[in-house]
Amino acid sequence: MVGYSGFNKYKWVAFFLAPSLLGLLTFIVLPMLASIGFALTDWTLPRQPNFIGLQNFQNLLNSAQFWNALRFTVLFILLYVPSVFVAALALGMFFNRKLPGMIVVRVTSFMPVVASWVVVSLIWRWIFNPTYGPVNYWLSLIGIEGPAWLYQADTALIALVITSVWKDVGYYALLFLGGLQSIPETYYEAARIDGAGRWDIFRRITVPLLTPTMFFVIITLIIGYFQIFDAVWLMPVENTAADRELSTIVVEVVKNAFSYNRMGYASAMSWVLFGLIFVITFIQLRVQKRWVYYEID
């Protein structure tokens, strides 16, 4: 029994753990710690960094670009999260109906999930093309003159929300389906025997027992979409009002870091983003006790 216990065993532990632990320390933990340092400097490549304390954070709070980006990020989340939540819940409940052929809907609704944001952005950029795209063509058929979607900030925001819902709904619907299928059938049978109607069953059985899934979906959506980048970077048409105005925090981080080389300032901004996500997630974890129902086995 070589190495099953004793000193020899620790050599094995080291052998198995070393690559992963060293990698994690080098590429995750060390960069994270370094980033805190960067945030406290005026580092602009290729110059040397100087320590400036919290100056970056102060500059940030006085920056119109930052507030504009924060405004669009929050606005996007306020429009997008409820839309995709309701759509995915409805789709998940629909999936749960055991109809032959449902597999087709499930497979097709997951296709946008596996496609990259780059491809999805390009397709929808073409779909929202004001002159030659199908959206405005269809609108013209019912007598509406469609807007120049991806040329103006507000319509571009709507277009981004529509595209994001289309891309993600299949994923969250599948999560909801998983939650729905874990609800024991006996509860529904008992309710039916007691003469409960569809709406009562939905409100008093499905919703409470689905709250853990709902909570997980909301947390994931908010953490993910506070960091939205690809679509905002790719979809607005270059050199238009949408391109100039529509921004999010990660877009600002990337612009500052890679277009202006302001590594210190951009790092500070990324930590503000982390702080925002942390606080919101923390509040949600506290508030969940009031509405999330965990069944005790």
Binding site: G3, Y10, W12, V13, F15, F16, L17, S20, L21, G23, F27, I28, V29, L30, P31, M32, A34, S35, F94, L99, M102, T108, F110, M111, V114, A115, S116, W117, V119, V120, L122, I123, W124, R125, W126, I127, N129, Y132, G133, P134, Y137, W166, G170, Y171, L174, L175, G178, G179, T213, F215, D230, E238, V250, V253, V254, A257, M263, A266, S270, F274
Partner: protein, 301 residues
Amino acid sequence: MRLTKPLDVDATPAVASREAKPTALLSRARFWTFVQYAVMALLAITMVTPFLWMISTSLTPEAYVLSARPQLIPEEISLESYAELGRRIDLPRVLFNSILVAGLGTLGQIFFAAMAAFVFSRMQWRGRNVVFMLYLATMMIPGSVLIIPQFILVRSLGWINTYAALIFPSLFSAFAVFLLRQSFLTLPKDYEEAAFVDGANWFTIFWKIALPLSGPALATLGVFSFMGLWNSYLWPLFVARRDEIMTLPVALSFLQSETRALTEWNIVMAGSVVAVLPIFAVYIVAQRWFVRGVVITGIKG
């Protein structure tokens, strides 16, 4: 309850015509079945049409692309845009880069994560829980915080525009360790005890017992990490901009900004088809692992 007249307001024309047969008096249940199938058709069409539009545009000759009346089935079909795409981007090279990065990245991530997951689940040692908590803690750091310091690190290592920059930072995932640990924990202890009696060492147990018995977990992790790497955009955009090292999403986004006049949509869509077909193929083949992955992450939450 019976309806004397078919309620075809919400139904598709095809359904309505079938219902209109004089012999069929619709029961309420049958009516709802029809409505459900109509909804199903509508959903599938909504999800698929943008992709069909992509394929259709990619097959349209340039002269027809900018037409006032968009057509899903092109009047004339041509592969001209794919030929032109091949002239604009070095397709074999870009495809090779994408496959290499996603393939090696996935294999490496699974292998290192499995090794770590093995010591966290099958071996007893002091400090195990503390180190595992450290792993879990790294999952809290959002990617957007890591972009800049990782870029600085990769730059100081001289890795900009190398495969190392594309592959290494994605190899180490605490989430992958967490996922595989869950699977390893379910393996019965008898196997490894028997193996020890036969003189096996820990690596043999890892390689010959733990890995082969964890096929589903490895496959699930594999498809998701392959998908993530194949679709990755933000990181490659800033560390791999040179033509020789570029991956598909970056090449595609550059193609889009080069065709600035916004008239060559057929070429952009041809590029999208090339980028999306391989991952669709993976999805169709490995569909059950994708579904399993979503359900597992849901349970974890």
